[in-house]
């Protein structure tokens, strides 16, 4: 390794680096709806990631708790990564992406068991933002088409229509008009 100056003004350059063992691993990665089957290993040059026979040479540097600078085949990318439950929120070029990384073996087992990566489909409608419930436009037992307005939430002085993400029947409504809700509060369950 090249010897580096420890004089002030250049210390950043020795901090925050990440080391890793010389192993070789295979992962299944899902970015939004796209799946990648990737092998990662280390060579003298840095990391090598292989996907469908194509190799990428990658160097990584941690800039802060959640921020990384990647150099992929010389291309620079600044990436924010935060863990959000069982997935990662990856923020890159102004785009937030939901990313799931599974070791290949686990993903195989899961697939053979016929399970989706997300587990059973979520039938609960949640508040996409904090706000005030203005009205509920449906009643329990009512059948709804996809896109039907279920509930109206006021936030930032705008009325926001919460629509049915899929067709179904209203099973239960958890909120009343005039009620304040937090982000991700349960609003309604469809079935």
């Amino acid at each position: 390794m090249e010897s580096v100056s420890s004089r002030p003004g250049c210390q950043a350059f020795e901090r925050g680096e990440m080391s890793m063992p010389h192993t070789r691993d295979r992962y299944i990665v899902t970015v939004d709806d796209r799946e990648f089957d990737v092998t990662i290993s280390r060579d003298v040059e840095g990391y090598v990631l292989e996907h469908k026979g194509e190799k990428r040479h990658v160097a990584v540097r941690r800039l802060s708790e959640k921020k990384f600078l990647l150099n992929i085949d010389a291309a620079s990318s600044e990436v924010d990564i935060a863990r959000d439950g069982n997935k990662l929120d990856v923020f890159l070029e102004g785009k937030h992406m939901d990313v799931r990384v599974e070791p290949y073996d686990l993903a195989e087992l899961r697939k053979r068991a016929g399970l989706a990566v997300d587990g059973p489909e979520e039938k609960v409608i949640r508040a996409p933002m904090p706000g005030l419930v203005l009205t509920s436009e449906v009643k329990p037992g009512e059948k709804v088409e996809k896109g039907k307005t279920l509930i109206i939430i006021e936030a930032m002085k705008m009325e926001n229509m919460i629509r049915a993400p899929f067709p179904g029947t209203v099973k239960e409504i958890f909120v009343d008009a005039g009620q304040a809700v937090e982000k991700n509060d349960k609003l309604m369950e469809l079935e």
């Binding site: 080391s19 970015v31 040479h57 990384f68 890159l92 785009k95 992406m97 990313v99 904090p130």
Partner: protein
């Protein structure tokens, strides 16, 4: 007779409060900020010379708390109040309260605001001044049993508008087979919540008009000048999101006719101050009076960029009783400006507001870029107010250069923690309709029927996958990143690049 102003209370928050505070600094006027319970460390509070609490977070208790604001003006010794846009900017009662309290309201006289703020009165004034208007009702809707008939008389599609309205709030397009009553009820509720005045009325909805507006300035000495137009046809939820000047459809001849029309209604209404006369322009380049906005507009910087004139400082001059600092013939627009409003909204989720903390905020810079923003890293986007984060205003010698720079700026901008409309702005700059300048108020529906504002590099998902794998792989192998400086400790960053030098790569983007 002029009254020098040495201290101004800025009765607003966010980017527009900051815009006015900056103009105060330039003019060597002391600025007084006000803030609600949730804004006590907001950027406008930090930048102002003085700051006073005016009430709890909800705007009716703070930024709309008229008595308290007047009280603070008196306590602080401010001679004038600048209302910004929104909140009390077009509230005639507040302007009157200022006048009665011996405080200069930086805007038109209260009776002018009342006259033009009532959209129906404004129509009548326009007709009197000889301006063409869109067909519509000249009464507000009170009898819900009559609405179907009223609508049919005007002819579908109709546009339900709030009489006290502005900013697209309380506005609904209703087509022949839409549920008319539901739309009206919703518009009434929204208008009531936004303006405290639920009156709505109908206008014929022009299918593909362009929304073009003329900036005007009028002083107390009878000088009324226009600063050319802004094209504001790119809208979502009937609210402008991207504006530009000059308008791609503008000709010298049309500009001078529209400019004259704008000055005519200004003179007819005895208007004093900065204002905007909005028009709809149809495909034959016929124009129709829409309304007068008796305030500083969100998009005023577009005009500032092409004319070089500081509209807020001209407002100060007018309020002091001075003459405008230039004449009509001195206004010679140069180059092209585009404004993209950056909202905390998710364009992929029907522009749903996105609240939370801005964990990182880094603005683009370089030639031709002006950013009027209201936030810093760590700022929160509260649910109580408009979710605007910033205005990205770009100047270029040509429209093409302005678009190139806008794209660059959008790519360079980093806002994490909340969703933003940056992706949308990027997609617009790359859309055929915008590039050709061939668009109208139905721009989004025509250009993005599926709301697929995809804009990024094709490799972005692959790069996200690589980042995520490295992140998980390193966590899985229990590698901490703080234990640096062991001899093997190496990110590959340097070794990689030393080796890279010796052979040709395939990759890159």
């Amino acid at each position: 007779m002029t009254t020098p102003i040495t201290k101004i209370l800025v009765a607003n928050r966010g980017e527009i409060a900051i815009r006015v505070i900056r103009a105060c600094r330039d003019a060597k006027i002391t600025s007084v900020a006000i803030y609600s319970g949730c804004d006590d460390t907001a950027y406008h509070v930090r930048l102002a010379d003085e700051a006073y609490w005016v009430g709890p977070a909800p705007s009716r208790d703070s930024y709309l708390n008229q008595r308290r604001i007047i009280e603070v003006a008196k306590i602080s010794g401010a001679q004038a109040i600048h209302p910004g846009y929104g909140f009390l900017a077009e509230n005639a009662a507040f302007a009157k309260l200022c006048e009665d309290s011996g405080i200069i309201f930086i805007g038109p006289k209260s009776e002018t605001i009342a006259l033009l703020g009532d959209k129906l009165e404004a129509r009548r004034t326009a007709i009197k001044a000889g301006l063409p208007v869109v067909p519509g009702t000249d009464f507000d809707i009170t009898d819900m049993s009559q609405v179907k008939q009223n609508a049919q008389e005007i002819g579908f599609p109709i546009l339900v508008k709030a009489a006290a309205g502005g900013g697209g709030k309380g506005m609904r397009v209703v087509r022949a087979d839409d549920p008319l009553e539901e739309s009206i009820a919703s518009a009434v509720r929204e208008a009531g919540s936004a303006f405290g005045d639920g009156r709505v009325y109908f206008e014929r909805y022009l299918e593909r008009p362009r929304h073009v507006e003329i900036q005007i300035l009028a002083d107390m000495h009878g000088n009324a000048i226009h600063l050319g137009e802004r094209e504001c046809s790119v809208q979502r939820r009937h609210q402008k999101v991207i504006e530009e000047s000059p308008s791609p459809i503008m000709t010298e001849e049309l500009r001078s006719r529209m400019g004259k029309a704008a000055v005519d209604i200004v003179k007819e209404s005895g208007y004093i101050g900065a204002g905007t006369v909005e028009f709809l322009v149809d495909q034959d380049r016929s124009f129709y009076f829409l309304e007068v906005n008796t305030r500083l507009q969100v998009e005023h910087p577009v005009t500032e960029m092409v004319t070089g004139i500081d509209i807020v400082r001209e407002q100060f001059r007018i309020a002091e009783g001075q003459e405008l600092s230039f004449r009509q013939e001195d206004v010679r627009p140069y180059g092209h400006a585009i404004e993209c409003r950056i909202y905390a909204e998710d364009p992929h989720q029907d522009f749903m507001p996105s609240t939370g903390t801005i964990t990182e905020y880094r603005e683009p810079a370089g030639p031709g870029i002006r950013i009027d923003s209201g936030v810093l890293s760590g700022s929160e986007i509260p649910i109580y107010y408009d979710p605007i984060i910033a205005k990205l205003v770009i100047w270029g010698r040509t429209r093409e250069e302005a678009m190139e720079r806008t794209l660059r700026a959008v790519m360079e901008y980093r806002i994490s923690g909340v969703h933003t409309t940056l992706d949308f702005a990027c997609a617009v700059m790359r859309s055929r309709g915008f590039i050709l300048g061939d668009y109208a108020t139905d721009f989004i529906d025509r250009e993005f029927p599926k709301r697929d504002f995809v804009c990024r590099d094709a490799t972005v998902e692959e790069r996200a996958a690589i980042a995520a794998i490295l992140y998980e792989h390193l966590s899985r192998h229990k590698v901490t990143t703080t234990m640096a400086r062991t001899p093997q400790d190496d990110s590959g960053w340097k070794a990689y690049h030393r080796a890279r030098g010796v052979r040709r790569l395939n990759g890159g983007r």
